[in-house]
Symmetry: C2
Subunit: 156 residues, 2 copies
């Protein structure tokens, strides 16, 4: 679960977030896709990212690390993983699609609008509220999107 973050980290580095998140690696196979070398590379790269990343960023990172994966493949893989629910996708204010490897349970994100550091949060009450409101207006098959933005402690 999402533990309360240690209020104030010691020597904090403001700019680039320390990429060292032990997130679980998305599994192409679990998404019904052939687990090829490229797809695995994308999955691993995404798992190492602790903030949302765009297809281009993942591609760039892979290239920098020597992994040769075509940009189109990165796009296809991320999109497929997202469709399969293996990763979460959201859009930047500019409309760009960004992805992140997350826990499989339903949750929302608290994102730092400066460095992108993300915390997964849950709100059962909100879930209930959205469903209730929707049904109250006669809407069925309810779903919703909810993101919270703010400036994280390190970026202030």
């Amino acid at each position: 679960m999402t533990s309360t973050e240690p209020g104030h980290a010691p020597a904090a580095v403001p700019a680039p977030p320390p990429s060292e998140a032990p997130a679980e690696v998305p599994d192409p196979a679990r998404a019904g896709m052939r687990p090829t070398k490229q797809r695995r590379a994308v999955a691993v790269a995404l798992a190492r990212e602790d903030a949302f990343a765009s297809a281009q960023q993942i591609h760039e990172r892979l290239s920098r690390e020597g992994e040769q994966v075509g940009l189109a493949t990165v796009y296809r893989t991320l999109s497929a993983l997202a469709d399969a629910g293996e990763v979460d996708m959201m859009r930047t204010e500019g409309g760009e699609a960004i992805y992140r490897s997350c826990s499989p349970t339903h949750h929302h994100h608290l994102v730092c609008r400066s460095c992108g550091r993300t915390v997964e949060v849950e709100g059962p009450a909100v879930e209930r509220w959205t469903t209730a409101i929707a049904e109250q207006h006669g809407y069925a098959e309810v779903s919703h999107t909810l993101e919270i933005f703010g400036t994280c402690p390190e970026c202030r």
Copy 2:
């Protein structure tokens, strides 16, 4: 970008019960822009729409009705009105920007994923929750986005 609205003066008329009331026409002047014929045309067209509409749709509609307004102007106008808070903007799943003339108070949308029919909804509890969660994690200057999707009564 519709962010958390700061406390409003107690005077004003309390927002009417969330229903499909005819939206008021966005005012370019109020947004600090010259009220030209084209801008007014865009504003009126948007006000007549009872669902979110894209720049292209507005442009097409205007053309169909004889109003000659350049596509670039439609884009510029909608974008400016959105920045000024005169209209609400959100993104389709495909990343396309869509706009709608809404009440000026902070609210969220319940959108029919089939016909686009939209209902404005309010949830004070949700507002409080997002702020609380964010601060609990040390995030400041909190804002959020929340949309509810479903199939409306007419589309079932």
